[in-house]
Symmetry: C2
Subunit: 187 residues, 2 copies
């Protein structure tokens, strides 16, 4: 039992990379078997719900990671500006300067959106809410903080699209610096 739990903690990140690289539809069990080293028997033992359950757990784990490493620090930072700066650093690192794609964004654009609508909404509202909270502490009024947070999150997603499209990580680096400056500008 303990082994099963330990193994699951190793498997979910591997699944995440497969879904990221191939999308939900494109992530075949053959690719998953190859990436994890687990046969179909083992996979269905871990995830009786099959591919859909795998993707749900991956999305949940991504949300957990962002909660722990981005949303929570954003809220609890002694200095809100420092918290926001830390967010941008974490985002740049997480998305590997745009080489890594946002799985939640990919799912949102894809045909499987309805299947995972709740997880997708939770992820993005969590991000916007946490950032808006920091912006309020920076001195913005409620509406301005929300709007600015929305613009920032959206710019990051757009930067991931354009970076992949042009195959140039400098697009991501530039965009992140621009949004960061806009968001950290004095109210």
């Amino acid at each position: 039992m303990a082994k099963a739990i330990a193994d699951r903690a190793e498997v979910v990140p591997q699944l995440a990379e497969v879904f990221r690289a191939h999308g939900y539809e494109g992530a075949t069990l053959a690719l998953i078997t190859e990436a994890t080293g687990l046969g179909k028997g083992s996979l269905y033992n871990f995830f009786p719900g099959g591919k859909e359950q795998m993707a749900q757990e991956v999305l949940a784990s991504i949300d957990l990671w962002f909660t722990d490493h981005i949303y929570a620090p954003l809220r609890s930072a002694a200095d809100p500006a420092a918290g926001i700066a830390a967010m941008f650093a974490a985002v740049d690192s997480y998305f590997r300067s745009g080489q890594r794609v946002c799985l939640v964004g990919v799912v949102a654009l894809g045909a499987a959106r309805d299947l995972f609508a709740d997880a997708v909404k939770t992820y993005f509202t969590g991000w916007i809410d946490a950032l808006a909270h920091s912006l309020r502490r920076l001195g913005h009024d409620k509406a301005a903080a929300r709007h600015m947070a929305e613009q920032a999150v959206l710019a990051i997603q757009g930067a991931l699209v354009l970076t992949r499209a042009l195959d140039d990580t400098r697009v991501f680096t530039r965009a992140l610096a621009t949004v960061r400056a806009q968001v950290l500008a004095k109210p």
Copy 2:
């Protein structure tokens, strides 16, 4: 022959909607047959290269539409500010306030990116170049115009992601208005 050409002009937009709704991998020949009313025999008569050729022609037709309705007017507008304003109106209309997704963006994020890398790059560089050209005419220097154009295109793509994710077209409308104001601000 004339009939075949006329038919093709009707079929490509139908194909576009299928690819938009289901992505490249998710757009099965069964769905395509249903949407077009054409059997596999007819489809392979039109597109001997199969699904890949269909997608290539759809991407080419999208690029042509943007060239005719966005890039060219942007360059030839007597008043650059009016040209940019027209671009935002056309974009809002084309993407149906965010209800319609950008197929080129979807392809860029997906696993089929490498297959269509040239078409994807052409589309986005064409857009950024045309907008940067207008911004230069508005009085921005070369580097600022390029950077601002890149930010605008990226914000539109991000707005499409976030609009679908939150299932709220007001996100798109807000984002478009914000980018429009930034881009049309006096240099």
